[in-house]
Symmetry: C2
Subunit: 361 residues, 2 copies
């Protein structure tokens, strides 16, 4: 059971608390992505040290490698990956479908080719939820059908139909805690998807199929639709959203939870998030720039290392460069979310959002 | 000036303390290698957290990238790389020569091709020491001429002649603190090289040109020769020696200082050092092995993660796997050296060495 309490509101923005299996975390919440049970360049306790209390892993990827038996044998995913905090798992439907097997989606389930041994496997929504339960996750996500953008109306209609049907079957298994709406950027289909999920009744409501190439204003319109239909007192989760401005916009539209590989993936490509916008640390203009990555940041990287040194590490292909960039970017995201939480409590979120946006170019 | 005090001896093994510029570290000393100013998968403060008080960087590599001007501009290498402890720098002669420009070595100096822009550069021994001084290193190493193994007697004769001549000119600059003997595994030439360096007089004495493919018994014979000729009260440094058994053998032959990329490079290739010998963590037999990497190790990796999880990280190409393996291997080396220090103080080094060797298969 998920307990969700809204403790402060400013406009549509909400400050709250999620509790699951005795573990709590504040919302708005940003989760770093540990697809395969690892924060890529960081060990998991480093994510905790930054301040994160929840992460999201991917059931499909963990099924492929190391396999459910390995994680069960370790006593569950928390123990296996050394993350005592909250763990969400995504179904992996997005990955299965993106592997080019869209034609193998039916009402029955999804057929996909294993990325490890190439074998074709079939999985029903029920089996997917059982998989997430076997891993020992705290919050499982329904299997959904997310078509690429742009998709024809016909495909979107089918994706909503299948997604609702699958959500219903996931719910029947008894462990599916968050559903996911589809419908692309079609107002009517998005509203239909949201309403059907609300009729089924879930502990949490996600918005899927966004941030995959559609224009920003269409994405925001879909969030408004979801906000109008989803129950006020349930947590709302926009999947895969990671840019700071998008997250602040979503919070102002009543959304609570976010996850994205954006800060970690950008870090590995040398793109550093700062209070004044992004910078490419590999650029030679940083060769003798002895400032911290972000002068407004108090993370251990900004306290101890210069842009010049991190530029050098990237130039010299030292893995420690990816790591320092990742620690900074995740610290930046954590600070952003903490600031948003405080601002909502103090009733200053609107001005915080404006000020952040004015500086972040 | 380097202060070196021997505080305890057992046979030829010595426990002591090196002090330079107000910074102290115990000997026997093992230094992790930060060729380009970084411990590869770790940030430098993580090396300190393991317990290391000294590291070795490479003047040639740092000249190539980021360049002396960058490090000078930062206020010196300690500040630039965030390492307040002792920093040794190697001249980089080994790298310059290994780049295939052996024919371009003369009494005058060495010609080498830049690995960054391909330009051919000439460097004298004096210029090399000035370079190390400019970087702000604590302990600089003389430029030496290390031929590959095996080398003809003619080449070895020339390498000793050139190495002595260069050492003399390095000393004249006034900052060269450790000399390096050559002579391959030829007893007479090794002795000649050691004697000529002792006649010049240095603050520390290194043994070069070993651990490059020669048989172990020949290597140990060369250490015995150096031990007999080098002054008892000066620190002795075997360059590039990293396997635990070699280090314990060298300590028992009166050697004090070691450096090697062995633990970090092995870690990146999945080779884990344990009290019972090495293991290849990528091997599928570790898939469901929930023990720590080394049951006798108390490092943060062995406390928090299983062989199974680290096997998974390597299988899944997660960079965090390289990092956890590196933390463990460096912790293992640090423990080995600390145990050796304690054993010499307590007069139990001989039995410690035997017991370690009996277990480490």
């Amino acid at each position: 059971m998920i307990q969700f309490d809204i403790e402060a509101e400013e406009g549509k923005a909400r400050f709250g608390c999620i509790e699951v299996k005795g573990k709590k975390t504040r919302t708005p919440l940003f989760m770093p992505v540990a697809t395969r049970g690892s924060l890529r360049t960081l060990s998991n306790e480093e994510g905790r040290n930054i301040g994160f209390e929840a992460l999201i892993a991917n059931a499909y990827h963990l099924l492929m490698r190391p396999g459910t038996d390995v994680i069960k044998g370790a006593g569950g995913i928390h123990k296996y990956i050394n993350w005592p905090g909250i763990i969400f798992t995504d179904s992996g439907g997005f990955q299965m479908i993106r592997s080019g097997f869209e034609r193998d989606i039916s009402l029955e389930g999804v057929k996909f080719k294993s990325e490890v041994d190439g074998k074709t496997t079939h999985m029903t929504p029920e089996e997917n939820i059982l998989l997430q339960r076997e891993l020992g996750t705290d919050i499982s996500m329904c299997l959904d059908f997310c078509p690429p953008h742009p998709a024809s109306k016909e495909v979107l209609v089918r994706s909503v139909e299948i997604t609702t049907s699958w959500a219903s079957r996931c719910k029947d298994v008894g462990h599916a805690t968050f559903c996911i709406s589809q419908g692309g950027t079609n107002d009517k289909l998005r509203a239909k998807s949201c309403k059907e999920l609300v009729d089924l009744g879930f502990q949490g409501y996600a918005v899927g199929g966004l941030s995959i190439g559609e224009p920003k204003n269409e994405m925001y319109r879909m969030l408004n639709i979801a906000d109008n239909i989803y129950p006020h007192h349930k947590p709302r989760y926009v999947m895969g959203l990671g840019s700071p401005l998008d997250i602040l916009e979503s919070i102002s539209r009543g959304m609570d939870i976010f996850d994205s590989a954006y800060p970690t993936r950008n870090a590995r490509h040398g793109t550093i998030m700062t209070s004044k916008g992004r910078l490419s640390i590999e650029n030679s203009r940083f060769r003798k720039d002895y400032q911290p990555l972000d002068e407004d940041c108090h993370c251990p990287v900004c306290t101890e290392y210069s842009r010049s040194y991190i530029n050098h590490l990237f130039q010299a292909n030292e893995l420690s460069g990816l790591r320092l960039a990742t620690i900074h970017n995740l610290s930046f995201m954590h600070d952003l979310i903490k600031n948003a939480q405080s601002a909502i409590q103090e009733g200053t979120f609107k001005s915080y959002k404006k000020e952040f946006g004015d500086n972040y170019k």
